[in-house]
């Protein structure tokens, strides 16, 4: 199957390693799901400042949270495993603080948590990160791997689809609708203009979840208390049979040269003053333009 897709891709060879024979088979009616999650700084409404080396941003003062799309992916996994009886395993690649995201996921109902914990994984680009995640996920039992379709920090919109290729699995991303069938899932991908592309994808597969697909739950106090004592499986590059040149900055084929603030073009004429003063100026502008008559 998928013979046509099995080209001579060196990249795939490089990220696969040996496959266990029992991988991702459905155990009777049970359905297991792996969810890739990431901790990100909340920047949507924050004043983001560049670090002095212009290779990163100042993280101090920015609250850390689960990446928004990943939160929807986690919820989708919990809903599906509740309906079909199975377990959710959350996987992340990140620093010690990322344990918070894994514990919060367990507080909501995830059964297991894995963190790729090794400086060798740091500053990987989308492909290097996908390669590392694939090495950890290939040994797990699952029917579906869910990821958020985009992260709010790097914004690549790429890790999930790259991960699918590393795992030699079919994929679909920008998914806003999901319906399980027998050994397959019917998904709706959201295209430009709100058009939905419906596809049938066989499991095992990798699905990139778009925000808005469900209503993410909150963890209960009891759940949080229980999760605080749960174990997180730590994996180093060596544990996963990876060399440092395969992953992280060293294994990446792109490099961030420099960060800068986006150039501000002409930009808006800022109406200064207190809310009342600024509003008064704006109301005058709107009247001049004929919107208040």
């Amino acid at each position: 199957m998928r013979g046509a897709l099995r080209g001579s891709g060196v990249g795939r060879e490089r990220c696969r390693g040996a496959w266990p024979d029992n991988r991702n088979r459905r155990n009777g009616e049970q359905m297991n799901i792996v969810v890739c999650v990431k901790q990100v700084p909340e920047t949507a409404e924050a004043d983001v400042k560049l670090a002095s080396d212009k290779k990163g941003i100042v993280m101090e003062g920015l609250p850390l949270q689960i990446n928004e799309a990943d939160n929807y992916a986690l919820e989708q996994a919990l809903l599906l495993t509740e309906e079909h009886d199975g377990d959710v395993t959350v996987v992340t690649l990140g620093p010690d603080s990322s344990d918070d995201v894994l514990r919060m996921s367990m507080a909501k109902g995830a059964a297991e948590a894995v963190r790729l914990n090794d400086p060798a994984f740091d500053r990987g680009d989308a492909v290097a990160t996908a390669r590392a995640l694939a090495a950890a996920i290939k040994d797990l039992e699952y029917d579906i791997v869910l990821t958020g379709c985009i992260s709010s920090d790097d914004g690549n919109t790429a890790v999930g689809v790259a991960l699918a290729e590393c795992l030699e699995l079919p994929h679909a991303t920008y998914v806003t609708q999901m319906e399980m069938g027998d050994g397959e899932v019917t998904v709706g991908r959201e295209l430009e203009g709100g058009l939905i592309e419906k596809l049938k994808v066989k499991t095992p597969c990798v699905i990139g979840i778009q925000t808005g697909i469900n209503e993410p739950r909150y963890a209960s106090i009891m759940g949080i208390a229980k999760a605080s004592k749960r174990e997180i499986a730590m994996k180093s590059a060596g544990d996963l049979g990876l060399e440092s040149g395969d992953v992280g900055a060293e294994g990446s084929r792109t490099r961030i040269e420099e960060l800068s603030y986006p150039p501000v073009g002409e930009g808006a004429e800022i109406l200064e003053g207190t809310p009342a003063e600024a509003s008064s100026k704006l109301a005058d502008v709107l009247r001049e333009k004929g919107f208040v008559s």
Partner: protein, 324 residues
Amino acid sequence: MNEILVLAEHREGELRDVTFEMLGKARELGEASGQAVTALLLGSGLGDMAETVKPHADEVLVLDHGNLKQFNSAVYQPVLADAIKTREPGLVMIGHTAFGVDLAPSLAVALELPFAADCIDLAVEGGTTKATRQIYEGKVNATVSFVDAPTVLVTFRPSAFPVEEAARAGKVTELTIDVPEEPAVRKFLEYVEAAVGDVDITKAEVVVSIGRGLREEENLPMVEELAESLGGVVACSRPVVDAGWLPKDRQVGSSGKTVKPKLYLAIGISGQFQHLSGMKSAETIVAINKDPKAPIFSAADYGIVGDLTKVVPALKEKIAELRA
């Protein structure tokens, strides 16, 4: 190395703007680096699309095949991989669209190509390609370089470059590549049009739009009242729909609607490109946001930096005073 290969994107029989935007950028790069610009046009029943693309490229590679009817990445990927291996272009450009994001990352892995996603600009410096892309939700630009490789792959953001007139005499070449059947593991079923709601925001002359900054659904009525006082309709950015506060048909942006009202009031909207692409053609744009560095202020004509829960009621009051 002497060719830039651009994947022409089309949907339901229409070439998409991003195709011409990428070809324009490719011509600019090609003039600086001495590379030819080649468009790759894949599909089924392409009609006169090659003629339309011709002036924009030095060569148009055409493959018209029944198995390419739908933009299924599982079928397009091996075809594209074949073309890249044969042509060995220095740079491959794919649109950063719902189609491109479903195709490019796996192609990058399969061919082990250095890959940068959602690029807003590209340059050739000293023979090597550099890309500019945005991180942290459009608040930071990153310059990205690629390790030495014969071919690099990028996805290019729609609307990042204008559609320009061009007068190249593209040579049309029919490709002969084996096109696989759509694999059983991923089958296209159908397109489903977005649901139509009670209000058509694309017809309104005044659009009052809210975003993530709304924070609470309880803040919605004050925005509705402001819209009413201006004779406008309420629209929104994606997070408001995700939260279930407004229906999908009120969403402005690339995955929602494109509006061109006389007045667009963006309240608590940071202005990521997905949103900007749906409203930047409005005649007058006003932004209210608490972050003075929010990208929306670059797109707006007038701005107020402040807390929307204070500014919106104040503005409604001032408008009422002027009316009185």
